[in-house]
């Protein structure tokens, strides 16, 4: 497909702007912690979208197509980062999550340890499935509206599931010796 220079410039500008937004979103959502470089993603997304435009103009118009291009690029980059050799894990006693585990530590330090986290997970596992899922999604930072949307329920139903789930979890955590957590 031949694109005249004015249109080419306009399309490149649009993709540049979009790439910058994608980069900001990657950084804002903390995806950089998974070993990917937001600048690389930005560039790769622009290249893939431009190729798609050259191949078929109509295909690039759909929102889902554009999203798919970006998500595929991000997931491919995370997969590549996971495949790269990683630095060796710190030895026991060095600074790290394991170092925070102390027999006399309070809930903060106890919960920092992997073992304690496993106990928290065990407490959550005792919850009924729908409540457990609502609690977990809440702890991951999703809103009641989002939890309702993902679960196929109303926001109000999600709120009830969450309230009951959190109440039960707190009770279990106290029993398990963790004390109370701010939430």
């Amino acid at each position: 497909m031949s694109i005249d220079p004015a249109l080419r410039q306009r399309l490149h500008q649009l993709l540049r702007d979009y790439g910058a937004k994608v980069r900001a979103l990657i950084e804002g959502h903390g995806l950089g912690q998974y070993g990917i470089d937001p600048a690389d993603i930005e560039q790769e997304v622009r290249i893939r979208l431009w190729k798609a435009l050259e191949r078929d103009r109509n295909a690039a118009f759909h929102t889902s197509f554009i999203q798919r291009v970006v998500l595929t690029t991000v997931i491919d980059a995370i997969r590549a980062a996971n495949a790269r050799p990683v630095d060796p894990l710190p030895e026991a006693g060095e600074t790290g999550d394991l170092a925070f585990v102390e027999p006399t530590a309070g809930p903060e330090r106890s919960a920092s340890g992997i073992e304690d986290f496993d106990r928290i997970m065990a407490c959550m596992a005792e919850l009924p499935e729908r409540r457990r899922k609502a609690v977990a999604l809440h702890l991951q930072g999703f809103s009641l509206r989002e939890i309702g949307e993902f679960s196929g329920t109303s926001e109000e139903a999600a709120r009830k599931l969450l309230d009951r789930g959190m109440e039960t979890l707190r009770e279990r955590l106290v029993v398990a010796g963790f004390g109370e957590f701010d939430d």
Binding site: D4, L7, R10, L11, L14, L15, Y18, V22, L25, I26, G28, H29, G30, L31, Q33, Y34, G35, A60, F61, H62, T63, S64, I66, Q67, R68, V70, L71, V74, I75, I78, R79, A81, N82, V86, D97, P107, E108, A111, I114, F117, I120, M121, R132, K133, A136, L137, L139, Q140, G141, F142, E146, F150, S151, L169, L173, G179, E180, F181, D182, D183
Partner: protein, 179 residues
Amino acid sequence: MIKPGLANLYRRFTRRHAAAEALPQVDALLALAEGEHGASSERLLTEVARSGLHADLLRFARALSPESARLGVQLEQALDASSAGHQRDRRPLRSATPQRGWLRTAGALAAGLLVAVAVWSVQRGHMSAPADVAAANKPVPDRIFAALSERPTSGTTGKRDEIFRGDFKSDRIFKSSEG
């Protein structure tokens, strides 16, 4: 003592083993981000609940949606504006093209007509010349054989040749009876 938030701890620990986790399918991620329900999105939701990586990707996919929709609209507008501009550029060409076409057609017809007339003229010249020559050189019947047929048809014609006349008088010199 500052008590930690449970959510804070949960998010931190559910992101620790991201490298070992199976990555989500893009289609399932998109479906869940758009609130679609199905077996694959249910499975993914379970992963999102226990994996920080999946939760972050889902949140990212949702945040990406309005920006992607905006880009789609902008691309469409840019391409539409470009194609409209091309149509505007082409319009005068289109209006001029039929005129040129007519001129071309008329010219071709005129040229064809001229050629036809020329060919016809040449052919006519070639055809008529032998006819005229033939007509001009039409053989005159031999006079020897035409004598019989050249008898006058009217009674007021001139005298016939004497030598063949029936009332021919013999030579008087050799006429013995005359004396």
